[in-house]
Symmetry: C2
Subunit: 124 residues, 2 copies
Amino acid sequence: MPTPEFMQAAVHAYVRALNVADLDAIVALYADDAVLEDPVGSVPQRGLADIRAFFARSLRLPLQVELEGQIRAVADEVAFAFSVSFEIKGQRTTIRPIDVFRFNEAGRIVQMRAFFGPSDITTG
Amino acid sequence: MPTPEFMQAAVHAYVRALNVADLDAIVALYADDAVLEDPVGSVPQRGLADIRAFFARSLRLPLQVELEGQIRAVADEVAFAFSVSFEIKGQRTTIRPIDVFRFNEAGRIVQMRAFFGPSDITTG
């Protein structure tokens, strides 16, 4: 099982990669058979091809991503709160999700679930 | 499916009940067949009898519980960060979990998972 420190480092790498729009670095964190549900309740993205396409869409606009509070790491999972903001025609939108990642033995993310609803999205 | 507002109100009721050590109010939030995993990776408590016993143990000491940030509510789930602190022989311990609840159609919690590890526990 990956250590808490390993999983926390993976989250920091994820945040860094989102901030610099490094699609390869993001996808490299995921296992071949990973399932991504962002937001929770949406149709999951299954496998690296779909996950790459998902993040390619997400990165069309420059994103500013910041962790909020510590990364909770336990067993083979992490949960963490963060903010992601972007600007469209001078208007800034900020989303504040809580993400949960589950890791496999090889230290890759096998499941990602993003919790946010309408009340976690602010504009202006 | 319960509304985001309903699920957020349930979390507030949970926090309130923990703060006043109201075991009945806590257990009333759970479905008969609920599964509680606190912390993630521990042996789950299954069903109301085990869940009541779990919270009876948790409430042996007075708890101070505070939400940290908003309650993310989406589909039939919520995720939220909070702190819980208690005092043993004049020494205060604070734990900062992220909890995830899943609700059934009747608005009861059917799954509860608490994410925290050693680095989310501080003393002194």
